[in-house]
Symmetry: C2
Subunit: 342 residues, 2 copies
Amino acid sequence: MEKEITIYDLAKILALSPATVSRALNDHPAINVKTKMLIAEKAAELGYRSNTFASHLRTRKTNTLGVIVPRLNSNFMSTVLAGMEEVANNFGYNLLISQSLESEAKERANAKTMFNSRVDGLLVSVAYDTDSFDHFSAFIDRNIPVLFFDRVLAHPQCGNVVIDNEQAGYDAARHLLDEGCRKLIHVTGDLRRNVYADRLAGFQRAMKKADIRTDDTMILTTDLSQDAGRSVAEKIHQMDQKPGGLFIANDLCAVTCMQALQERGYSIPTDIAVVGFNNDPVSQVITPQLTTVFYPGYQMGKTAMMAVVGQLNGTKPLDFMEPIILRSELMIRRSSKRSESS
Amino acid sequence: MEKEITIYDLAKILALSPATVSRALNDHPAINVKTKMLIAEKAAELGYRSNTFASHLRTRKTNTLGVIVPRLNSNFMSTVLAGMEEVANNFGYNLLISQSLESEAKERANAKTMFNSRVDGLLVSVAYDTDSFDHFSAFIDRNIPVLFFDRVLAHPQCGNVVIDNEQAGYDAARHLLDEGCRKLIHVTGDLRRNVYADRLAGFQRAMKKADIRTDDTMILTTDLSQDAGRSVAEKIHQMDQKPGGLFIANDLCAVTCMQALQERGYSIPTDIAVVGFNNDPVSQVITPQLTTVFYPGYQMGKTAMMAVVGQLNGTKPLDFMEPIILRSELMIRRSSKRSESS
DNA sequence: CAAGTTAATGCAATCGGTTACAATACAAGA
DNA sequence: TCTTGTATTGTAACCGATTGCATTAACTTG
């Protein structure tokens, strides 16, 4: 096991002071170019690596950003993370990633860990049941940038990166209406979460505009799991008046529900038209292919990370507060096409 | 912005020495229980948090583990990561995660970053084109545990966590043969990677046992992307002698290929039976459902992390070298069932 | 040639815990 | 009473990089 080289070792070997070595390695302008070269060479030769702890201790910066997501193993989240990782990496930041498993308690614990690890910034998509903002205020108090993405909390000092869920919900419902469905059902998640509340709001706006009264029986609040998809199918099967269209706020749930309906003999889209959300790979694999809302996950990750990094580098100072809204798009596929129009 | 409390502040307030405070906070036996209580109380009251850098600087431990994966946004990998995260979190370790994007160069850069971040251990699933072990030897030299999972490199001092790919490949091919397919085609990835080489070996063993000669035209080496799936379908369409069975080493590719074949009018499994690999959610969504190999991703993540953590805690000292092999299982579904047997 | 600049480097304190090595106090044993 | 032991706390060096404030040498300029 080799001994670790320090700037003191380098200094001694080259008959210089540690200060000069430090400055040279950081490309300080006051240091002679030739000296820099000399030091860089020797450092490489001896396999010197900077001790980040000493450095962090002194500079009070960690070059590490925390990310808290509900789950790692969803197509959408892992795509977002991939985007984040790319940007962070480019700017020399490390990522500390943890998952809340949809529980506020765990999210709280994760936030605390991040705080104690002294991350320079935090990116969060909140859990299903998160009610309070408490666990993030420690960051705000210490001026550590906090940015929410996808599932956001509104807070005057936190950035938000989202899509226009209301509009997407409107478009989805509108499309089903356009295809001739009268009775619609919307399957949603926890309405404390903006993503679901907004999609619902859009759904209702479309209904209202079409002069169709919406009542509670048309809104099914679930956890959007695959099991939920199956039980939604069951519930529909029990209904006297079957819906003509189904708007489900998550592709995996929608797909499972479609399959369950098909097993029960329903034909899609003839009997029931279905629209999902996220443009998950499964949406293109199911028969008929699922109409869904394209969600720019990769770009969302990149954008969110850019915002935080910009904030830290002082590039983007103030425009942090206004939410960044990314474009989403309804991808019309066979699961909802009743008309012969195409 | 509140000022950060240090053990010196605590010491001054309580009229004690920093050493006592430090020991008390670390539950050192030499400190009086009452003193400990006193200090703990005050620390909580003032919102003291340990400065991990100062601590790491002194102790030379980071409590951080590095993970390098080819991509974050694949169902399999994100499941593995979810498992790793859970264990790491339980044992008080943080995770530094980065992706190589299937490039050895990026993997090399990532490894270097991890090294400079002084991770206590490293878990890697290598990129498509990784040839050398160089970038990991720095860790070995410094006695930092390195463990490979899924896509592994053999090295006497590195742990391996895998499934029995050879057997899985054998089972897949054997199943197709049992279903009456004579001419088989195997679509694989870069054969430098154990996972693909082993699956191929299993495939060949099954063929040999069935007394069918395998030649190069039966083995298609691709990047297993969705595009690859489409071009495989095209290639098959061009063949004079169509294969009766298709064993594709990745579900997403298999599914895309199936769709492309179906579009061209082939019926699955009647014309061509298909077997995939990974048990990705898409495999249950496509029609007909895809026969595939269940891959215990979550468990693989947990197991790999356990091995490293055990190593670091001195619990598991030596048995690190022998590879850990997890159970995989052929999930027989409709895409390969020709016989009426069930 | 003295005074003033400029360029390059060094000194030493600092960041906040950790820990080897005392130091102190008090009680028990000789 | 004096010695020894035990329990508890303190002193101070250290981990390695950073940086404000000199210092030194070399170069201009009047």
